[in-house]
Amino acid sequence: MNDTTPRVAIVNDATAIPLPEAPWRRLVRQYLKSRIAAIALLTLALLVVVALAAPVIAPQDPYDLASVSILDAEIPPGIASAGSDTSYLLGTDGAGRDMLSAILYGLRISIGIGVASAIFALLLGTCVGLVAAHFGGKIDAIIMRLVDLQLSLPAILVALVLLAALGQGVDKTLFALVIVQWAYFARNVRGAALVERQKEYVEAAIGQGLPSSRIMFRHILPNCIAPLVVTATLQMGHAITLEATMSFLGIGLPQTKPSLGLLISNGFEYMFSNKYWISMFPGVALVILVISINLIGDHLRTVLNPKLES
């Protein structure tokens, strides 16, 4: 009967193998399975669109000092201003800015700062972390002590020094935030890379005669992406709140170009008066923004975890 034994059968019956699917398609499909996560993504997209379109849809240019008047300060939502007959849907703040416009422009800055600083910090931290993991030994020790140093340097001092050295502005605040955040990424990447480096596929790549730099960046790095994405979304939220705190302490953004955080901390003084709208509306916008980013990150964590993928 052994004679009838077929030659090695080529296993290619389609039913045995899941259909090929691009990884991002699978990601998207997995991601959209959760209703909450989909809503969060939609909300974020909406906020981004609204922020981008701010110059078009905002009733006022809050950055143009000539169009803002202190005489219009603290007008409650929906009431006509003293001079003109325009009405402010969400009221005005203490400087007479239209809250709606200020929130739209503030969103722009907050999202920009959160996203951009997280991305830059991610790039910087990733490179540094990979280098540390790759070279190990002394270089690793030096880099990790620098990371310790960075983590124990208060953000406020860094921000203040940068403010003094470079002046005030969105770009400088961004720079300060990157400097404060890169260490988190470096730590994360290094940790993940050290784990990945032990895996057999790395040995396989060595066995193929590939140089270690290529192994680090082409083979190990992509496998560290999942924890990185999660850190990045968390850090985005954190960056936005950090910027708010920095502005609260007067070392963040220029007074005349408020971010959401600055709007809130300005309105913070009105906690004891009944001018709720000055800090509540930007607060609501910020909370929605940060929660949706966190939910997305949370869900990405689930989706990107191959263990939970079935």
Partner: protein
């Protein structure tokens, strides 16, 4: 009636893309002091069967039907509390992976005496004596020292023996061992098999031994069930099955094993691969890979039983 009677046990997994029957109407019985081998490819439902017998199927899985009688008790009707009494005391299990089944932060001795203490009131010192004896029985040298060790300080073989010792401390009536030697070396595997044989003989404990390698259970088991895609395709006394397999799948498993006789020749290998449980072919699940399949195989084959043996195939191999 045997110690354990399983009738038409069904275990399902509810997944987003459908319900998978990982265990599909399996039945067998096992007497005290007997050894049952369950053999099958990866994914054929061996572990799920074991978990079902322990009532440890985790969501999304659940036991969907059938009966399990243990010493005359209907386990399907047992309460949670009853299960907590039974597990570890009357029915014990040894898991597949020795590296993963011991708690890494607890000392060996504590883990073993815990098994004893949660079921029986006794003094710590006397519990430790029992544990020490159990460790000795599974062939661990210097057991008193080992009891103070943590799992990571032991080799894989030792850990697996600790897991086996854990199964025997309460002298259960039934031990379910899920591929306990797959990850081990031949010499260690041989030791464990030897100890298991002694155990069943000496204390009358019944044993279910799960593996994908027929040669491993050959010397140990009294009976064998061959599983494929959640169903038992053939069962019966071990020698008869190995000598005269009736189901083509069993034949394939036997032929796949390399040995001196096949040296230089091509090995037989079952063509194709295990179908996913969610898209099982209608009828005999093995038919797409079977060289003997005919259109008749598209209906589920009945169980053909003659005396102690049974098989599910319309075209059994007739070696006689």
């Amino acid at each position: 009636m045997g110690l354990l009677e399983v009738k038409n046990l069904v275990t399902e997994f509810r997944t987003p893309s459908g319900t998978a029957k990982a265990v599909d109407h399996i039945s067998f019985s096992l007497g005290a002091g007997k050894v049952l081998g369950i053999v099958g490819e990866s994914g054929s439902g061996k572990s799920v069967t074991a978990y079902s017998l322990m009532n440890l199927v985790d969501p999304p899985g659940h036991i969907a039907g059938g009966e399990v009688w243990f010493k005359g008790e209907n386990l399907r009707a047992a309460s949670k509390q009853r299960w907590n009494e039974l597990r570890g005391d009357r029915i014990a299990m040894v898991f597949q992976d020795p590296m993963m089944s011991l708690n890494p932060v607890m000392k060996i001795g504590d883990q073993l005496s815990e098994t004893l203490l949660i079921h029986h009131r006794s003094k710590r010192s006397s519990a430790e004596k029992i544990v020490e004896n159990a460790l000795k029985r599974v062939g661990i040298p210097a057991p008193v020292e080992r009891m103070r060790a943590y799992p990571h300080e032991l080799s894989g073989g030792m850990r697996q023996r600790v897991a086996i010792a854990n199964a025997i401390v309460n002298q259960p009536d039934l031990i379910i061992a899920d591929e306990p030697t797959t990850a081990l070396d031949v010499t260690i595997q041989a030791q464990i098999l030897y100890e298991m044989r002694c155990l069943t003989r000496e204390s009358g404990t019944a044993l279910i031994w799960i593996t994908h390698d027929l040669s491993v259970v050959k010397d140990l088991a009294d009976d064998i069930c061959v599983m494929y895609a959640g169903r038992i395709v053939e069962q019966g006394p071990v020698d008869e099955i190995i000598e005269n397999p009736r189901h083509p799948y069993t034949r394939g498993l036997i032929d796949s094993l390399p040995h001196a006789g096949t040296r230089g020749k091509r090995l037989y290998s079952i063509p194709g691969s295990t179908p996913p449980l969610l898209s099982l072919p209608a009828g005999c699940a093995f038919s797409p890979r079977c060289t003997r399949a005919t259109s008749r195989c598209n209906t589920v084959p009945p169980v053909f039983a003659d005396d102690a043996r049974a098989h599910r195939c319309f075209h059994p191999i007739d070696t006689l």
